[in-house]
């Protein structure tokens, strides 16, 4: 068992699956020789050759479109989009083809593709490097959206994503790529793609979050515990489809719900969670739902970034408001 960071776990899962399934290929900008700008694919080209770990020209739409063609003809491409803010040129292929091919052909052709991309900000990057626009993709029928928040979940969920016969958008929380090390056994065991994870139990308030915001959320839970308030922290992990049951059960227990995400609030994934609870758990709610999110603004550049990303203090305040 090795103590690995989240990015190392991604690398490990990638390598595992490539050694066990000859149809898996990796492609993207700088993923080969350079091992990816964050080193997620480090060493893969050396091990598996330039035929299976492909440095592409610079065009995201092309990367996604190639994946569709490759997958339809029997490969399992795992593509990297260098930052989520550069995924838009790939949108057409993702929405109009990748997520639809099975449906359009009544199952004749399928699209087992994984699109990996860094997610979120907080590392003082240049413009367009801090985006977390998962909600756009969660709206796309036929597409799964996953976001791990620990090395172990990164490992297990990436394996699951590659093995899934349908396309998966795999979001990697940049801020915690190297945040902590965790024992992860490199045993090829995948995690399910349709459940969320209760990271911490508590009876006073349910806190649903994902990606890098799990860190702030757990810290907030610590601080609140000191004040005698016990929050149940849920890592959504799979953002689409949402595991509504686990959330509804928790809300049934706590009567309160706070949602934390880094993306802008308006029509974020937090809205869907709130809507689900307002539909199916309304009578359990003892207080208004709260969303602690990025503001409905462009993610600011480095000097104001920390004012944009939800802070421990904001989460604590929201939970206390819910309880008052």
């Amino acid at each position: 068992m090795a103590k690995v960071t989240l990015i190392e776990a991604i690398n490990m899962a990638h390598a595992w699956e490539m050694s066990h399934d000859a149809s898996v290929v990796a492609l993207g900008q700088d993923v080969g020789r350079n091992g990816g700008v964050f080193r997620a694919t480090q060493g893969l080209q050396k091990t598996f050759g330039a035929d299976r770990v492909i440095d592409t020209p610079l065009a995201e739409g092309m990367i996604a479109g190639l994946c569709v063609g490759m997958a339809a003809q029997g490969l399992k491409p795992v593509a990297e989009i260098q930052f989520m803010g550069f995924i838009y040129p790939a949108m057409d292929q993702i929405v109009n083809h990748m997520s639809r091919l099975r449906n359009r052909t009544r199952g004749r052709l399928t699209c087992p593709v994984v699109i990996r991309t860094p997610h979120g900000g907080g590392i003082h990057s240049p413009e367009h490097h801090s985006e977390s626009v998962e909600s756009m993709f969660c709206h796309v029928p036929g597409l799964r959206v996953v976001c791990p928040s620990s090395p172990a979940r990164a490992y297990g969920l990436l394996l699951a994503a590659i093995r899934e016969p349908d396309p998966v958008l795999f979001l990697e929380p940049v801020r915690i790529y190297r945040y902590a090390r965790q024992d992860v056994e490199d045993n090829g065991e995948a995690l399910p793609l349709d459940v969320c994870y209760v990271l911490r139990e508590g009876g006073d308030c349910t806190l649903v979050t994902w990606g890098a915001m799990t860190v702030e959320s757990l810290k907030a839970a610590d601080e609140l515990a000191k004040q005698g308030i016990y929050v149940e922290v849920i890592d959504l992990a799979t953002l689409s489809p949402i595991d509504a049951e686990t959330i509804l059960e928790s809300v049934a227990k706590t009567g309160r719900l706070v949602i934390v995400h880094e993306a802008a609030r308006n029509v974020g994934v937090g809205a869907e969670i709130a809507a689900i609870v307002a539909e199916h758990g309304l009578y359990d709610l003892e207080a208004p739902i709260q969303r602690v999110t990025g503001y409905d603004t462009i993610v600011p550049l480095a000097r104001l970034e920390h004012d944009y990303v939800p802070s421990v203090a904001r989460i604590v305040t929201a939970v206390r408001t819910t309880l008052s």
Partner: protein, 366 residues
């Protein structure tokens, strides 16, 4: 100033509008199929069938029995010629208008009608399992062909991919991205530009300042060639040569076929709003069917009697397909759920149940 690079674009044509060889043609350069009576007649017959089917489909739409339909009239040689050059195990990424292509490949007429009649099952081609479905978002399919070719290359299979694209389609950036990566990776793919002069109401002159569309290949450092798209022999030969290159590992080719859209853009369009009857009449003078028929008649491979009897045969085949199509029941409401995922999430299954209930409720209503 030094010249650092030079390029030229060749144009290939064998038959003139009357089906005679061009005067300066070196007959020894003709492909072998040009001397194969069975193959020549087979191709011509398919063109006749395609034209007849096309006419019928427009009719069905006009009488409310088919959805919006994109006529292929004028494209028969461009479609059948290219399709005939392919092997069954090659893969195509067709656009909406490739009626004749699909028919040659083995897509059943009833399937074609089902698709344009609003039923996705028309894409579940029974005979061409690996081909991509009809593609509507312009130019996107060029990348699918490149991706397929990439898979063939990685697995070292002797297969090729062929992407269809219109003159309008060449303005989408996607097309250049596909050519470019195909060039870098020397993929076994052909980008087949069917230049019919119009993209809905947009004439070629408003689409690009490029003198030819074949020259767009130069941007990707790959060969580009123009062919008379109304000349069945030339089309098939040029595509055969491009396929041979690709199979030899020499990479992609862009082939531009010069043809004309004789009909409206689709049955929802009225081309008389934007182009002159004169232009359309001119185009009818050089259309592909007449030319090929004259060629066959000259070789005494075809005559009036055969034409009449074959047309009759076509009508019967088409009527059978139409009957099959019209008898196809509406898909169950569950069909919109059942092919979305291999492992459908619970939420979707719940919606599926609701949809069944809602659908039954509606049926009771009306």
């Amino acid at each position: 100033m030094n010249t650092t690079a030079q390029f030229d674009i060749q144009y290939c044509q064998y038959l003139d509008a009357d089906g005679r060889f061009l005067p300066d043609l070196d007959l020894s350069t003709l492909p072998s199929f040009a001397h194969d009576p069975i193959e020549l007649v087979r191709m011509y017959k398919m063109m006749v069938l395609v034209r007849a089917f096309d006419t019928k489909a427009i009719n069905l739409q006009r009488t409310g029995k088919l959805g919006t339909y994109p006529p292929a009239a004028g494209h028969e040689a461009a479609q059948v010629g290219a399709a005939a050059a392919l092997n069954a195990e090659d893969v195509i990424a067709p656009v909406y208008r490739e009626i004749g292509t699909q028919m040659w490949r083995g897509v059943r007429m009833a399937e074609i009608l089902r698709y344009w009649g609003g039923d996705e099952s028309g894409n579940d081609f029974i005979n061409t399992r690996h081909d991509f479905p009809w593609c509507v978002p312009i130019a996107t399919q060029t990348l699918h062909a490149a991706g397929a070719a990439f898979a063939f290359k990685i697995r070292n299979e002797p297969r090729c991919a062929l992407a269809y694209i219109g003159d309008g389609g060449t303005s989408e950036g996607t097309f250049y991205e596909a050519m470019n990566v195909a060039g870098v990776q020397q993929l076994p793919v052909i980008f087949y530009v069917v230049n019919n002069r119009w993209a809905i109401s947009t004439p070629l002159s408003q689409q690009t300042a490029a003198h030819t569309l074949a020259q767009k290949a130069i941007a990707a450092g790959i060969p580009g060639i123009q062919v008379d798209g109304n000349d069945l022999l030339a089309v098939r030969h040029v595509i055969e040569q491009a396929l041979a290159r690709a199979r030899r590992g020499e990479g992609p080719t862009v082939v531009e076929a010069l043809t004309y859209r004789l009909s409206d853009h689709t049955t929802a369009d009225d081309a008389s709003r934007y182009r002159s009857t004169h232009e359309v009449e001119q185009a009818w003078n050089i259309e592909p069917m007449k030319r090929m028929r004259a060629y066959l008649e000259r070789l005494q491979l075809w005559d009036d009697v055969q034409e009449q009897s074959y047309k009759h045969e076509c009508s019967q085949q088409i009527e059978a397909a139409v009957s099959e199509y019209l008898a196809t029941p509406t898909p169950p409401v569950t069909a919109m759920f059942d092919y979305l995922f291999a492992h459908p999430p619970q939420r979707l299954l719940d919606q599926r149940d609701q949809a069944m209930m809602n659908s039954r409720a509606t049926d009771n209503h009306g």
